[in-house]
Structure formats: structure tokens, C-alpha cells
């Protein structure tokens, strides 16, 4: 495990922060801690982090606003760690730009496995078989870049891998469950809204009219399909 990987934990509960920190350090990450959203924003200026874990209920600036602020300037994977039981909060967090969520109490091993999947897949360089092209969209597996009509598109790594999965199987329907397991590293069935939300974000980047998609199609009740 490369020591260069770093994770930021934004959590006001000392005990949970300690647990997360210990787990992440055991996995070999350098951990940046923040108790408040303000502190997290300051740390982000100086530190390069590869993944951010955010509690939704924070003192001062709320988790949701922090996610929006981070997303405005960065494509870093953001995972919500929440004790909120109301699924509206989770959906709001995903819409604000988070890539995944875990609810407390979580199983640390599962969370670590998911983070590992997100980050490991981001550095895959050699086993991508062919150049991935779909209409005006072109994927560069070697640099994890996405080009639209030759212009680079700012996509997160998760977005990149969802696109790679969909274009790799273009013309075929991929279920949300399949994507959650392949891209997000879920070991069990997860919440399909995580995928829905990411697809929504992707469309606003790759489609001419995100409301009437021509490349990334929804197959109602089954999943998503990339235009062949």
C-alpha cells in the first residue's frame, strides 16, 4: 500500500474520528483530521487528499455545504458517514456531490474495502483493453482522462470508472447493483440511488441536453445503457 495515499476525516465526534483514523492508518493511509467544516476547507488548501469522509451533522457549516464547497473545486471522492436515519439527508448529500455513503454504525472492514476499491481502481493503468470511445466521448485509460470532442472533461475517478464500465459494455444494460459492486466495491446489495445520482451528474457533463440524454440511457427498472 503506497504511503502517499491520504484521507481526510471530517467528524466532530472524537471517538469516531479516532476509530476512522486508526482504521485508515492500519490500511496505510496518511490521515488528515478536521473537526469542523471550516477546518476541513482550510486543510484542503494545503493538503492533497485522495478521499474525504464527511459527517453530515457538523457544528458550524453543515456537511452538505462542505460537500458542495469541496465539489466546486475538486473531483476528490467524497464518502458521507452519517447517523442520519432520514434518507432525504442521504439523497441531499449525494446531490450535493458525494459519491457514496455509509450509515453509522458501519463495519470498518466494509468501509475500508470500499475506499480501497475506489482508490485502487483509480490507478489501474495497464489492463484496460481497448480505447473506449462512444460518440463524442473518449476515455484515456492510461491517464484516467475523459475527452469530449477532444476537449478534456473534468470528471471524478468514480465517474470515470462508471463511464468505463458502461462504454466497455456499450449497447448492453448494466444494473445498478452491477455498477455498485464493480465501481463502488460493494460486497452486498447497495442503494441504487448512489448510482442514479452519479449518472445524473455524469449526464450534465457528457450530454448536450442532460434532460434528454442521447448517450447514457436509463432503462427503466433495469439499469443504465450506453449508446452502442
Amino acid at each position: 500500500m503506497g504511503t502517499s495515499r491520504s484521507a481526510m476525516v471530517v467528524e466532530d465526534d472524537d471517538a469516531i474520528r479516532l476509530v476512522l483514523r486508526t482504521n485508515l492508518e492500519d490500511e496505510g493511509y496518511r490521515v488528515v483530521e478536521a473537526v469542523t467544516a471550516e477546518q476541513a476547507l482550510v486543510e484542503m488548501i494545503d493538503e492533497r487528499v485522495d478521499v474525504v469522509l464527511v459527517d453530515l451533522r457538523l457544528p458550524g457549516i453543515q456537511g452538505l455545504d462542505l460537500i458542495r464547497s469541496l465539489r466546486a473545486t475538486s473531483q476528490v471522492p467524497i464518502i458521507i458517514v452519517t447517523a442520519q436515519t432520514d434518507s432525504h439527508d442521504v439523497v441531499a448529500g449525494l446531490e450535493a456531490g458525494a459519491d457514496d455513503y455509509v450509515t453509522k454504525p458501519f463495519v470498518s472492514k466494509e468501509l475500508m474495502a470500499r475506499i480501497r476499491t475506489l482508490l485502487r481502481r483509480a490507478s489501474v493503468t495497464d489492463d484496460e483493453p481497448q480505447q473506449l470511445v462512444c460518440g463524442p466521448i473518449e476515455l484515456r485509460p492510461d491517464t484516467a482522462e475523459v475527452l469530449r470532442n477532444g476537449e478534456p472533461l473534468p470528471v471524478s475517478r468514480i465517474e470515470f470508472f462508471v463511464l468505463a464500465e458502461l462504454i466497455g459494455a456499450r449497447g448492453k444494460v448494466l444494473t445498478r447493483d452491477h455498477l455498485l459492486r464493480k465501481v463502488w466495491g460493494y460486497g452486498t446489495a447497495g442503494d441504487g440511488r448512489v448510482v442514479d445520482n452519479l449518472v445524473y451528474r455524469l449526464r450534465s457533463k457528457i450530454e448536450d441536453d442532460p434532460a434528454a440524454p442521447e448517450l447514457l440511457m436509463t432503462v427503466r427498472g433495469f439499469g443504465y445503457r450506453m449508446k452502442a
Partner: protein, 444 residues
């Protein structure tokens, strides 16, 4: 059996209408028949008096009775006859003289004696007037009058029946109108029971009905507020419990990770700690899940490969995935909920049923069944339904431990997916839990 309110009121209205219409009809009939008969008798008497006078005049002038009878202008269908010296003379034979009522001649007087009688069911009126030489009798048929009265009587009966029917109709309609607001209340209550807590009844402006609707709306508002408060409370409790539990669980798991470096005594304690914290964590999550199932989390239907899902569930419990047998249907369902269902059934078999024997997936035309067979002693038939209640405790052999909320959650989740879960005896003497799901469409 108690009749419906609408039926009872309709019957009441019908009875009342019948009573009123019947009374009026009877009175009308009585009056009409008295009036018509009286009219006819007066006419007959007058006519007979005139005719007798004419006949008397002819007889006195020396005519024979037959000639005298011929001189009487026979108006209508009346039949005149004359009795002279013990012999009857008559111009027609409709009423033979021997058929006349026997006491008619005895009561005959100069003002005319009347008597009604019948021949072969046909009614007649006979008028007898003594003359200076003999007796004058004139017979008037009453058949047409009788027919008029019969017809009129039946008409009144029919009108009374129609009045009764109209009464019933008016009664039923009136009750319908009165019941409509009550039905609206009933519909509102049903919608609230069905979870639409914001349901309110529109006020109609009717001063008799609006207070009821207002009370109903106040009650609905109170229920809604209370439920919202309890939901908030449970969300807060859950939040407050989740945070410490997260750190305890996380810490326990970290300790477990380093157990190999601990002395034997501490390692044993850590094992207990981790087990119990996990149990508590599952319990809390189950509790939260069952209290909010379906609340704001609609099922997400997607095609799912049932056999693969079951194999994943079984292997994630450290068991051989080949315990999953049967068909490999692809159905439209919510994989997350289905995984909870199968997972909880497998956990139940492991913890309370003496172990998992097999999981069988069976595809039928319209539905899919998942059988989960355990190795326990089976479940007594009388306890089977109770098993799905929260915190139910089986009382037979292997099911002595509280099954907690697992099976209750299974049932709730299955219902949300449009299916159900039941338990029966397995072919291996244990219990067989059967999850039934609609097959939906397979494949995109």
C-alpha cells in the same frame, strides 16, 4: 341479521307511504262506491216510479199487461215486469221472475221497494211498486257499476303500491344524502389509516355537518403532529445511539484485529465484546429498520438474478454457495430488500434453526419461491404465524432464543416487494421458510 340503515329507512318510508296512500284509497273507494250506488238506486227508483205509472195507466185503460209493457220505453237495459192475478208478464227473459228475491213483493210499497240481488254472480237491483191492479217490478243490471267499482278499486291498489315504491325510493335517496358526509368521513379515516396523514375533509358549509368534519380534521391534525413528533424522537434517539455505538463497534473491531497479540484471557474477553457489540448493533439497526420500513424509502425495482443473489448471501455467511439449488430466474425486484429477506432467513436458520440445510429457488409461471430449510426440529403449527411478530419467541426445541426482529423485518420487506413469507414443515423435518415474490418481467 341487522338490515342496513339505508334499507331500514327505505322500508320505513315505504310503510308510511303505503299507510297514507292506503287510507286515502280506502276512503276514496268507500265514498265513491257509496255515491255511485246511491246515485244509481235513486235513478232506478225514479225511473221505476215513472214506468209503473205509465204501465198502470195503460192497464186501467184496458190494455193487457203485455201491451202495457210494450208501451214502456225501455231505456238502457232495465227489464220491466208486471204481476197480475198470479201471472208474471215480462218482455225480456234476462231475469226470470222466479229468480227475484222472495221477500221483494212483501216489502213493496207505493214509494218503491229496492233490493239488490245476484244471479249467477251478476248483480242486479230490483224495484217493486204496487199498482191498483197488480205489481210492477223493474230489474236494473248493476254489472257495469260493479265493474267500474272493481276497476277503480284496483287502480287505487296500484296507486298505493306506486306510492309505497316512491316512498322507498325517496327514503333511500334521503339516506344516501345524509350518509354521504359520513361516507366522506369514512374515506378520510381509511386514507389516514393507509398512511396519508395529511388527509382532511372539506367543509361543505352545512351547519349540521361541518362541526363533525372540523372535529375529524382536528383529530387528524393531532394524529399527524403526534406521529411527526414520535418520528422526530425516534430519529433523534437513533442518531444519539448510533454515534456511540459506531465508536464502540469500531474500537471493538480494531481490538479484534489485534487479538493475536493479546494474552489469552484478554483475547477471550475481546471476542465476547465484539460479539455482543455486533449483536447490539444488529438489534439497533433492525429496530430502526422495522420502525421506518417503507416510510420514505420506496422499493427500487431492477432485474436481479435470484440464484446469484442467494449464493452471495450464503457465501457471505461463510457457507458453501452450492447449498443454493433450483432454478436461476431473473426477476424484477429490489435487490437490497431481497438480500435482507434471504439474509435474515439464512441467519435465522443458522442461529435458531440448527443450521442451514439448503436454499431452493423455484420459478413458477407468475411467481418465484425461495425455500430456506433449516436443520432444527421444525415449528409447531400453532406458533407459525406468531413467529413473524416482532420479538416473537418460538417455544419448541431449536427456537428457544428470541428471534428478535429478523423475521418481522422479512415479512415487512416481502410485503413491500408484493410478496409474502410463510413457514411450513421442511422435507428434512426442520422448518421451511418460503419467501414468495411476484415474478415480474425477466430480462430487459
Amino acid at each position: 341479521m341487522k338490515l342496513r340503515l339505508r334499507t331500514r329507512v327505505a322500508l320505513g318510508f315505504a310503510a308510511l307511504s303505503l299507510l297514507v296512500a292506503g287510507t286515502v284509497s280506502v276512503a276514496t273507494y268507500a265514498f265513491a262506491s257509496w255515491y255511485l250506488v246511491d246515485q244509481r238506486e235513486t235513478t232506478a227508483l225514479t225511473r221505476a216510479a215513472l214506468d209503473s205509472r205509465a204501465a198502470g195507466a195503460y192497464l186501467e185503460a184496458g190494455s193487457t199487461p203485455s201491451v202495457a209493457l210494450d208501451q214502456i220505453p225501455t231505456v238502457g237495459t232495465s227489464q220491466p215486469m208486471i204481476l197480475q192475478d198470479g201471472t208474471w208478464y215480462t218482455s225480456a227473459v234476462t231475469v226470470p221472475p222466479d229468480q227475484l228475491p222472495p221477500d221483494l213483493l212483501e216489502i213493496a210499497n207505493p214509494d218503491g221497494a229496492r233490493q239488490r240481488f245476484a244471479i249467477a254472480g251478476d248483480p242486479f237491483l230490483a224495484v217493486a211498486i204496487p199498482m191498483t191492479s197488480g205489481m210492477y217490478v223493474e230489474v236494473f243490471p248493476l254489472r257495469d257499476l260493479d265493474r267500474t267499482l272493481t276497476w277503480g278499486g284496483w287502480t287505487l291498489v296500484a296507486l298505493s303500491a306506486i306510492a309505497a315504491l316512491l316512498g322507498a325510493l325517496i327514503g333511500a335517496t334521503a339516506v344516501g344524502r345524509i350518509l354521504r358526509p359520513v361516507q366522506r368521513l369514512g374515506d378520510g379515516a381509511r386514507r389516514i389509516t393507509g398512511g396519508e396523514l395529511s388527509t382532511r375533509i372539506d367543509l361543505t358549509g352545512d351547519p349540521d355537518l361541518d362541526p363533525i368534519a372540523s372535529s375529524f380534521n382536528e383529530m387528524a391534525g393531532a394524529v399527524q403532529t403526534r406521529i411527526a413528533r414520535e418520528r422526530r424522537f425516534s430519529a433523534n434517539v437513533s442518531h444519539e445511539l448510533r454515534s456511540p455505538l459506531t465508536s464502540v463497534l469500531g474500537t471493538a473491531e480494531l481490538l479484534e484485529g489485534g487479538r493475536d497479540h493479546l494474552p489469552e484471557r484478554e483475547a477471550g474477553l475481546v471476542t465476547v465484546l465484539v460479539e455482543q457489540v455486533r449483536r447490539m448493533s444488529h438489534m439497533l439497526l433492525d429496530l430502526l429498520e422495522i420502525s421506518r420500513i417503507g416510510a420514505d424509502d420506496p422499493p427500487q425495482f431492477e432485474s436481479a438474478d435470484l440464484a446469484t443473489l442467494c449464493r452471495d448471501v450464503v457465501s457471505s455467511r461463510g457457507l458453501d454457495p452450492d447449498l443454493v439449488l433450483g432454478d436461476r430466474p431473473v426477476v424484477r425486484t429490489d435487490a437490497r430488500r431481497l438480500e435482507r429477506i434471504v439474509g435474515n432467513l439464512v441467519d435465522n436458520a443458522l442461529h435458531h434453526g440448527g443450521g442451514l440445510v439448503q436454499v431452493v429457488v423455484q420459478r413458477d409461471p407468475d411467481l418465484v419461491r425461495i425455500f430456506v430449510d433449516d436443520a432444527g426440529p421444525g415449528i409447531d403449527e400453532s406458533l407459525r404465524e406468531r413467529l413473524f411478530e416482532p420479538f416473537a419467541r418460538g417455544e419448541t426445541g431449536g427456537h428457544t432464543n428470541g428471534a428478535g426482529l429478523g423475521l418481522a423485518i422479512v415479512r415487512e420487506q416481502a410485503l413491500i416487494l408484493g410478496g409474502d413469507v410463510t413457514v411450513e414443515a421442511s422435507p428434512f423435518d426442520g422448518a421451511r421458510f418460503v419467501a414468495t415474490l411476484p415474478a415480474g418481467q425477466a430480462g430487459p
